[in-house]
């Protein structure tokens, strides 16, 4: 563990509380996304697209980190876990119908856009929570890294969510609150994943794969399409690749 991460370690007597602390911190960070809206109309559409692209890239980088960790143990189990993660995410998008949610900022919003957006964010955050919890099981510094990276990523997502909420007449304060509330599933699922994963024993790589598969599928079905709707391909592609590279680099340096 390098000095930087060590300086950030808040260890409690109960490891579950450590997970709760970092999960809650990541969730709380999403409120910061509402901040730019406190001044005037908030960021332009292209900035929201850029935030989505950065969120996508960092998530792909985290998926790489989780999957490479899983492959160290047992590749087949890790990839099958990835398939489960994709399947689970697919299910929670199609069952409530958020897969057909129109996220384009140029279209008029439908009646159900509001609650579907909230539902989508909440379920999306749950998968991120699993990633934090599983990473905490591998080792504390990977878990903290995962929580910090997702905290930064949540700022971008909070910004995108606030843009939708502001359109529907909510205040900046209400939006910030709702951003945090939709992310409450993050610490909760982090704790559940942290508590249950050790019981998997040899199948821990499946949990790592599950988290990686969920993150990658979320990027492909939610974040990446939303960024292409708001910013140019060149900008999106550049930011996504650089963000992914940055996560791989930082993980190497700090964990």
């Amino acid at each position: 563990m390098s000095g930087v991460i060590e300086g950030l370690v808040v260890e409690t007597a109960e490891p579950v509380l450590t997970v709760l602390f970092y999960g809650a911190m990541a969730a709380g960070a999403s409120a910061l996304g509402a901040l730019p809206f406190a001044f005037g109309d908030g960021p332009r559409k292209v900035w929201i697209g850029a935030a989505y692209a950065l969120a996508s890239g960092s998530m792909l980088g985290l998926g790489y980190v989780l999957m490479s960790e899983g492959l160290k143990a047992e590749a087949m189990v890790a990839v099958l876990g990835g398939g489960l993660g994709v399947g689970y995410t697919w299910w929670f998008q199609t069952y409530p119908g958020t897969d057909r949610l129109d996220t384009s900022p140029d279209h008029e919003v439908g009646r159900d856009t509001g609650y579907k957006t909230i539902l989508q964010s909440t379920l999306h955050a749950a998968s991120e929570g699993v990633a934090i919890g599983v990473a905490m099981v591998v080792n504390l510094s990977l878990g903290i890294f995962m929580a910090l990276a997702l905290a930064v990523h949540n700022v971008g997502e909070g910004m995108a969510l606030t843009a939708v909420l502001r359109q529907r007449g909510m205040t900046v304060g209400e939006s910030a609150g709702l951003c945090v509330v939709t992310n409450v599933t993050q610490p909760l699922f982090a704790i559940v994943a942290f508590a249950l994963s050790p019981a998997l024993g040899h199948f821990l790589p499946a949990a790592l794969g599950f988290a990686a598969g969920s993150l990658v599928f979320l990027v492909l079905t939610e974040l990446a399409p939303a960024s292409y709707e708001r910013a140019s391909r060149t900008l999106v592609a550049t930011l996504m690749s650089i963000a992914a590279a940055a996560v791989v680099f930082l993980e190497h340096v700090f964990v």
Binding site: Y64, S68, L71, A75, V79, G82, W90, F217, T221
Partner: protein, 244 residues
């Protein structure tokens, strides 16, 4: 040494010829729906992301920092190449004229451009060991087929012959054998450059996926469909690299 070089060239040539197979469905079909093309783009995206995963993993074994630095260079290389080509759109291409010619030329240019990176990947992969070389060659050969399909799907409906589709598909991949040889020689002489080279190819491929393949796939197929095809091929590619 020269036998090795000849083999690298031959492997690169195989990947290039595989691209021509993409024209094959058009020998039987008059048109392929836009959605089928979108799915093939999604499959190509998954295969390329999987190949990049393997490249980064392999590169990291030699050094993560140079691999990431190489990846950033790869991103910059493709961006610069695209910028260069964007300003040079001609309007006549073979039998094709006007908008059809421009679109054909653009897709060919982009495909040919990124083949340089793939050629580097093939050549560099030989520096990473026999198994990696066969794998990356096979992976690139396989993913060249949908690329050929994508090229043919643009050219064929605009009136180009099946043979012309096949030839231009192969042509778009010719930089692969041509670049594989110097890349191999370069890597063989400067082993320290290997992680940069692996990262470079991965960065270039990932950028191609996000710059061309994914947005085109989203334009013609639903997010869910694209997501499923990409993630399933990505997972299959990771397994393929592990167990082959």
């Amino acid at each position: 040494m020269w036998i090795q070089v000849a083999r690298v060239f031959a492997y690169g040539l195989v990947t290039a010829l595989a691209t021509g197979l993409g024209a094959l469905p058009f020998a039987f079909l008059r048109t392929v729906s836009a959605r089928t093309v979108a799915i093939t783009q999604a499959i190509a995206a998954g295969l390329m992301l999987g190949a990049s995963f393997g490249l980064i993993l392999e590169g990291s074994a030699h050094g993560t920092v140079p691999t990431v630095a190489g990846a950033v260079l790869g991103v910059v290389f493709i961006l610069a190449g695209k910028r260069f080509l964007d300003g040079r759109e001609e309007v006549a291409f073979g039998d094709l004229r006007g908008a059809g010619a421009r679109q054909t030329l653009l897709i060919l240019a982009v495909m040919t451009l990124h083949s340089f990176a793939e050629g580097v990947a093939v050549g560099v992969a030989f520096g990473g060991g026999e198994r990696l070389a066969t794998l990356i060659t096979l992976a690139i050969a396989v993913h060249n087929v949908p690329e050929g399909l994508a090229i043919s799907a643009v050219m064929r409906p605009k009136g180009a012959s099946v043979w012309s589709c096949a030839w231009w598909s192969v042509f778009s991949s010719l930089p692969q054998p041509l670049m594989a040889v110097p890349a191999f020689l370069f890597v063989d002489h400067f082993r320290a450059v290997l992680p940069y080279g692996l990262g470079f190819a991965a960065g270039a491929m990932v950028l191609m996926v996000f710059l061309e393949l994914l947005p085109e796939a989203y334009a013609e197929a639903s997010r869910t469909r694209v997501g499923l095809w990409v993630s399933v091929t990505l997972g299959a590619m990771i397994l393929f690299q592990r167990y082959l």
